[in-house]
Subunit: 340 residues, 2 copies
DNA sequence: CTGAAAGCGCTTACAG
DNA sequence: CTGAAAGCGCTTACAG
């Protein structure tokens, strides 16, 4: 028997509102969820009752009864990387506008963790889900496939999405930067990144670069894979280290702008001429890239836009509109500046 | 009648698992939620059944039945500001460890939006809630008070928290920086920030600074309040503008490091000597601050730590432990570098 | 250690 | 436009 408890904890429910307004709970539910289906007079009376009692709708009960909620899980590998935060911000922007809420999961680049998160999140019967990346455990894949509701995989653009996909080809981005560096006359090019095993998108950029170097018959160096988490502080020491251990290197393609900016600031401090001694390129297109000296050559990825499009695709589907394209390549732009 | 639907959409429920394992649904529920209370034999049988059917627990139903969930709403004013993201990351770190999920809300510095978010979030019967800031609408305040579960207000440290509070005094931070600048011999000091009406924590820093200037008998200038969103790109133009319109200014206290770093990079580009022509100070303690030239004097706020402590306090309370202190002043550290 | 009953607070068809 | 009944899928006491 819970009746006693109900009386005790004083939760205000639909029934209370209904009683005060002198209507049935059903009518209250309708007045709240589909205002048009209720006469003006009743609606006003109900709104007053809601106000007076300070009634807060119980979405848990609502979700159970209607087998659906308006909470969208978003799963990303990291929050310390601006890139994912910006994607989340883009999703947020659209979600909030459309009346959806976000549930945030962070995998820390761990696929088991990702699987656990997906499983938990699906238990909330979300109307859809957004997840970063296209590499998942078999089990994660199965869960999402069987789930049967809209899923958007974001960040990279790939061949076999679970459902929908918004991103860019990191492989092509790597190719583009390699071509740029070769055009500028650099011949001894090395890739420097952090945690390249986990951050396989950075790895894809390396592979793209490597392919172009191979085709051009240039020296192919193994990537410099740093252990630390990527951070602006890491770029400087990495630069010094590369110059010491591989003195013939004439260009460094950093996995992201944070590292590259760190390297440029360090070079400036130490009086290492960029690009005279070594050229430096980044990836992401942070605002900072054009402010440092020399300004940084980088590839701009439209992160907010990825978030916005992903959310839009999801909500289009939820609204019954089928999105124009199931897969969206947002592409990228190489911006050549003084650092190369 | 929903039975038909159940059969149709093929959702796998506790009942299905129970049937396959040859036990009652209650036992399955227990095996999943309180494994110790079930005999090993049954538990294994049940786990196999779960695996075989690919059963995903329905948390919505669970939350309704037990009147509680493990999803914690976190409400912040912005996601484009690193500061809040870091707090969220800190919360995440602890939450994930403890088996809680985060529900993310973004108010865009709008108190009405904040109120709407609180109301919606409370409808999910969360076990607690974390919210940035201590200034809310009356209605928001009432909702949270009446809610009766743990609430942590983060970012600033203040006098009358709704429940718990973790942060630092921005007023004191402003005072500290003003004292530092005065000690260094600067006399014409101005505060520059973005959207100071909405970002009232920045405003508090200004007020703290202003108080110290007043006490020292120095010129009190109105703060330069920029309209744009705060961003590293905004700092440079702001610097140029201040030097042009208030040429006697000898020190600028920027509302945050992004602006200050932007200013320093611009000064470098334009050959404006820092701190010779004008001293520059920031707030936050970003990694970047010590890399620019000259290195930036700033105040370090322990953002991740705020998130961690807030989450810890919340979970302590949820676990029945009363946290050591209801209010935590995480304080700050002024780091004096070459820019002042 | 295991199970039958009741209930969580809503919404969804179905009538009127 | 409004309402009575049934049910969403779980968990919480209470027995055994």
């Amino acid at each position: 028997m819970r009746t006693a408890k109900l009386t005790t904890d004083g939760t205000i429910t639909l029934k209370h509102v209904a009683a005060l307004a002198g209507v049935s709970p059903i009518t209250v539910s309708r007045a709240l969820n589909k205002p048009d289906t209720v006469s003006d007079k009743l609606r006003e009376k109900i709104e007053r009752a809601v106000e007076q009692l300070g009634y807060v709708q119980n979405h848990v009960a609502g979700a159970l009864a209607s087998a659906g909620s308006n909470v969208i899980p978003v799963i990303v590998p990291s929050l310390s990387n601006t890139v994912f935060v910006e994607v989340v911000a883009g999703i947020q922007e659209i979600a909030q506008k459309t009346g959806y809420q976000l549930m945030l999961g962070n995998t820390d680049y761990d696929l088991d963790q990702e699987c656990a998160l997906v499983s938990t999140f699906l238990g909330w019967s979300p109307p859809g889900l957004i997840i970063a990346g296209m590499r998942h455990l078999e089990r994660t894949h199965t869960l999402l496939k069987r789930y049967g509701k809209p899923v958007v995989e974001v960040m990279e653009y790939g061949a076999h999405p679970i459902d929908m996909n918004v991103g860019l080809s990191h492989y092509q981005a790597g190719e583009a930067m390699a071509k740029h560096l070769i055009e500028r006359g650099y011949k001894q090019i090395v890739f420097v990144g952090c945690q390249l095993t986990a951050d396989y998108r950075a790895w894809q950029r390396y592979k793209g670069m490597d392919r172009v170097l191979a085709k051009a018959g240039l020296t192919r160096r193994p990537p410099v894979a740093l252990e630390q988490t990527s951070h602006v502080q890491v770029g400087g020491p990495a630069l010094i280290d590369v110059l010491a251990t591989q003195p013939d290197v004439d260009a460094i393609f950093f996995a992201n702008d944070d590292l590259a900016v760190g390297a440029i600031l360090r070079a400036q401090r130490d009086g290492i001429p960029i690009p005279g001694r070594v050229a430096i390129a980044g990836f992401n297109g942070l605002g900072l890239a054009e402010l440092v000296m020399p300004a940084l050559t980088t590839i701009v990825s439209p992160r907010m836009e990825i978030g916005r499009i992903a959310a839009q695709q999801l909500f289009d589907r939820l609204a019954g509109r089928s999105p124009r394209r199931r897969r969206v390549d947002v592409s990228f732009e190489l911006i050549s500046r003084q650092s190369t």
